[in-house]
C-alpha cells in the first residue's frame, strides 16, 4: 500500500530528527502557544501528507493512554498497559505515571509490582500450582472469582536441594530458572533441618541495604555498603517454625521477621519501602538509579520510611487456630478460600509485641491453604509484596515441623 510505504519513508526521516529532539521541542512549543506554534507544526504535517503520531502533544497522548489503563484492569487484557509502556520513551513516561502502585490501585501491572507492597484496602487473590516431578512451584493471580482458574502467571520457584541446605530459586520466567538470568528475582534458603528460612532479594530492597555474601551472612553497616554491588543476596525476611506446646499434635508456630519492613508500616499512616524499578543490568548505571522516584504512584512523595539498624522490624506470626470440639480439629476462618485441611495452611498477622499478651491484630496479611492436589491459594496484602508472600508460602511447603 502506498500509504504504508509513505509512512515508512516518513518514519525513517522522523526517526533521525526525533533523536535530536527537534521534533519534541517544536511540538512542545505548539502546546504552549496554540495560535503560533501549532500552525507551523500543522503546516509541516500537511506538507508531508500524513502524520507521525510522535507529534501528538503529551496531554493528548495521556488522554489515550489513561483510557487504555482504565479499560484493561484485569489480566490478561492488562498486558496492553505493559505493551504501551514499551513503545517509546514518551509513552513509557506517561504510562508509568498513570499506573499506580498495587498499594493504591489493588492491581498488578509491571513485573516490579511483584516487589511492591500489596493493597491496603483489599487482598490480592492468587494461587500456587505445585509440580512434584520437576520440584517447581508456579504462582498465579486469579482472573475470575474462582479459587483457581487459568490465572495470570506471576512467579516460578524451583527447589534445589543441597547437602546442608535447600534453595528455592524464584524467577519471573518459568522457562529460565537459573540464578544468573536477568529474570532471577530472589530465593528462599532453608537450613538443614528445615526449621529456619531466609528470604533473599536479588536486588536491594532500599538504599543502604545490608548485603550478604554467598557463604556467610556478613552484616555490613549502612555506611559501608557499596552501591556498585550488582544483583546479589539481600536478606529481607527470616522465617522460623516451631512446635507449639502440644508438640506435633498441634499446629506449628510460624515467626517471620520482615527485616526490610518497619513495624510502623502497619500503624496508622505507616509506609513500607517500595521499589520503583528493577536496576538495569549495566553495573555503571546502578548507583545512579533512584529507588524512590517521587512521581511514581499517586502517593505521598516524601521519602518512605527505611528501617534503620535499630528500628523495630515488622514481625508476622501465624494466627492461632481454635480447637473445634465437635469437629475434633483445629480451625481458622479462611473465608472460603481454603477447602482442604492441611498442616501447611496458615494465616499471618502482624504481631503486636507491645499489646497485652496474646492479643493479635485482626488484619490477615498473608493467608495460604490447600484447595486441591498440588493446588493452593495465596492471599496477600500490604505491607508485603507478592515476592515475599510467595517465598513465605514456599517455606510452609518445605518445613518438616509437625508434619506426620
Amino acid at each position: 500500500m502506498s500509504f504504508r510505504s509513505l509512512i515508512q519513508d516518513m518514519r525513517d526521516e522522523f526517526g533521525s530528527i526525533s533523536r535530536h529532539g527537534l521534533r519534541a521541542s517544536r511540538s512542545h512549543r505548539a502546546v504552549a502557544a496554540p495560535g503560533v506554534g501549532a500552525s507551523a507544526a500543522a503546516g509541516l504535517v500537511d506538507a508531508l501528507e500524513g502524520t507521525c503520531w510522535a507529534q501528538l502533544p503529551p496531554e493528548l497522548l495521556r488522554e489515550v493512554l489513561v483510557r487504555v489503563e482504565v479499560d484493561d484492569t484485569l489480566w490478561p487484557s492488562r498486558r496492553d498497559v505493559v505493551a504501551c509502556a514499551g513503545v517509546c520513551r514518551a509513552w513509557r513516561g506517561i504510562m508509568k505515571e498513570v499506573v499506580r502502585v498495587p498499594e493504591a490501585s489493588g492491581k498488578l501491572t509491571f513485573p516490579i509490582s511483584l516487589k511492591q507492597p500489596g493493597p491496603k484496602e483489599s487482598t490480592l487473590k492468587c494461587f500456587i500450582r505445585r509440580n512434584r516431578t520437576t520440584q517447581t512451584y508456579y504462582l498465579y493471580i486469579g482472573i475470575t472469582e474462582a479459587l483457581a482458574d487459568d490465572g495470570k502467571f506471576l512467579l516460578a520457584a524451583r527447589k534445589c536441594r543441597k547437602p546442608t541446605y535447600t534453595d528455592y530459586l524464584i524467577s519471573l520466567d518459568m522457562g529460565d530458572m537459573s540464578k544468573g538470568s536477568s529474570t532471577y528475582i530472589g530465593k528462599l534458603r532453608s537450613n538443614f533441618l528445615g526449621t529456619k528460612f531466609t528470604v533473599y532479594d536479588a536486588h536491594p530492597p532500599y538504599d543502604g541495604a545490608v548485603v550478604s555474601k554467598s557463604r556467610s551472612a556478613r552484616m555490613v553497616g549502612l555506611n559501608q555498603v557499596s552501591p556498585r554491588i550488582p544483583a546479589g543476596n539481600y536478606p529481607v525476611s527470616q522465617i522460623s517454625f516451631e512446635l507449639n506446646v502440644l508438640g506435633s499434635r498441634g499446629p506449628r508456630r510460624m515467626n517471620c521477621v520482615m527485616s526490610s519492613i518497619p513495624a510502623s508500616a502497619v500503624e496508622e499512616g505507616g509506609k513500607a519501602p517500595t521499589q520503583t524499578e528493577f536496576p538495569l543490568n549495566n553495573i555503571d548505571s546502578f548507583p545512579s538509579i533512584p529507588f524512590f522516584r517521587s512521581k511514581s504512584a499517586h502517593m505521598d512523595s516524601t521519602a518512605p520510611q527505611i528501617p534503620a539498624q535499630n528500628e523495630e522490624k515488622l514481625v508476622l506470626k501465624n494466627k492461632s487456630p481454635r480447637w473445634h470440639e465437635q469437629l475434633q480439629c483445629w480451625c481458622l476462618n479462611f473465608r472460603g478460600r481454603v477447602t482442604v485441611a492441611s498442616v501447611k495452611n496458615f494465616q499471618l498477622v502482624a504481631s503486636d509485641e507491645t499489646g497485652p499478651a496474646g492479643q493479635e491484630q485482626d488484619k490477615v496479611i498473608l493467608q495460604f491453604g490447600k484447595i486441591g492436589k498440588d493446588l493452593f491459594t495465596m492471599d496477600y496484602r500490604y505491607p508485603i509484596s507478592a515476592f515475599q508472600a510467595f517465598a513465605i508460602c514456599l517455606s510452609s511447603f518445605d518445613t518438616k515441623i509437625a508434619c506426620e
Binding site: F3, I7, M10, R11, F14, G15, S18, R19, P34, G35, A38, S39, A42, V45, D46, G50, T51, C52, W53, A54, L56, P57, L60, E63, V64, L65, R67, V68, D71, D72, S77, R78, R79, D80, V82, A83, C84, A85, G86, V87, C88, R89, W91, R92, F110, P111, K152, F153, L172, D173, M174, S182, T183, F278, L280, N281, N282, S285
Partner: protein, 171 residues
C-alpha cells in the same frame, strides 16, 4: 449552506436538520486555508473555544478565523457538531453515526483529535481518544509502533528490560 471537502465524500451543513423553520442564528467559520463555513451558533457552541469567544463578544460580523484547522478536518468537525445538536436524544442513531464517523484513516483520526483539542469539543475528544485507545488493545509493542509510526528510542539496556517485561506480561 454546505461546503464540500476535497474528496467530495463528506457534505457539511444543515441538510439533515429537521426543524428548518426555527430561527437559528448562524456564525461563519474560516479554516486555515481560507474556506468559509456557515454553522448554526448552537452547533458552533459545542466548541468551547468558539463558545467562549461568542460569550465574550469576540466574534465580529466577519466570523471566526481558525488558523489551526484545515478545511477538510473542519468540515468533519462541523458535521459531527451538527449531527449531535440535531437529535441529541436518539442514542442509537448517534452511536451508529459516531462509529461511522471514526471509521477513517488513522492519520485522519490524528488530525481530528488535534482539531477537537484546539476547538475544545469534549465529546469529540472523548470519542476519538477512545477510538485510538481501542486500536491499541491486543497489540504487541511492535504492532503499536507500526500502527503509529513511532520510532523505538530506548537504549539497548532499556530495550532488554522492556523485552523482559513484555515476555512476562504476555506469558
Amino acid at each position: 449552506m454546505a461546503a464540500t471537502t476535497a474528496d467530495g465524500s463528506k457534505v457539511v451543513g444543515g441538510g439533515e436538520k429537521s426543524n428548518v423553520d426555527e430561527e437559528s442564528k448562524m456564525i461563519t467559520l474560516f479554516s486555515s486555508d481560507g474556506e468559509r463555513f456557515e454553522v448554526t451558533q448552537e452547533a458552533a457552541a459545542m466548541s468551547q473555544t468558539i463558545h467562549h469567544m461568542m460569550e465574550d463578544g469576540c466574534v465580529d460580523d466577519e466570523g471566526v478565523h481558525l488558523p489551526n484547522v484545515g478545511s477538510s478536518i473542519l468540515a468533519m468537525v462541523i458535521e459531527y457538531c451538527n449531527r449531535h445538536v440535531a437529535s441529541p436524544d436518539e442514542k442509537e442513531d448517534i452511536r451508529s453515526f459516531d462509529a461511522g464517523f471514526v471509521n477513517v484513516e488513522h492519520h485522519t483520526l490524528f488530525d481530528i483529535i488535534r482539531a477537537a483539542n484546539y476547538l475544545d469539543v469534549k465529546e469529540l475528544m472523548d470519542l476519538c481518544c477512545q477510538t485510538v485507545a481501542d486500536s491499541i488493545k491486543s497489540k504487541s509493542v511492535e504492532e503499536i509502533r507500526e500502527l503509529f509510526g513511532i520510532v523505538n528510542d530506548f537504549t539497548p539496556e532499556e530495550e532488554a528490560e522492556i523485552r523482559k517485561e513484555n515476555q512476562w506480561a504476555f506469558e
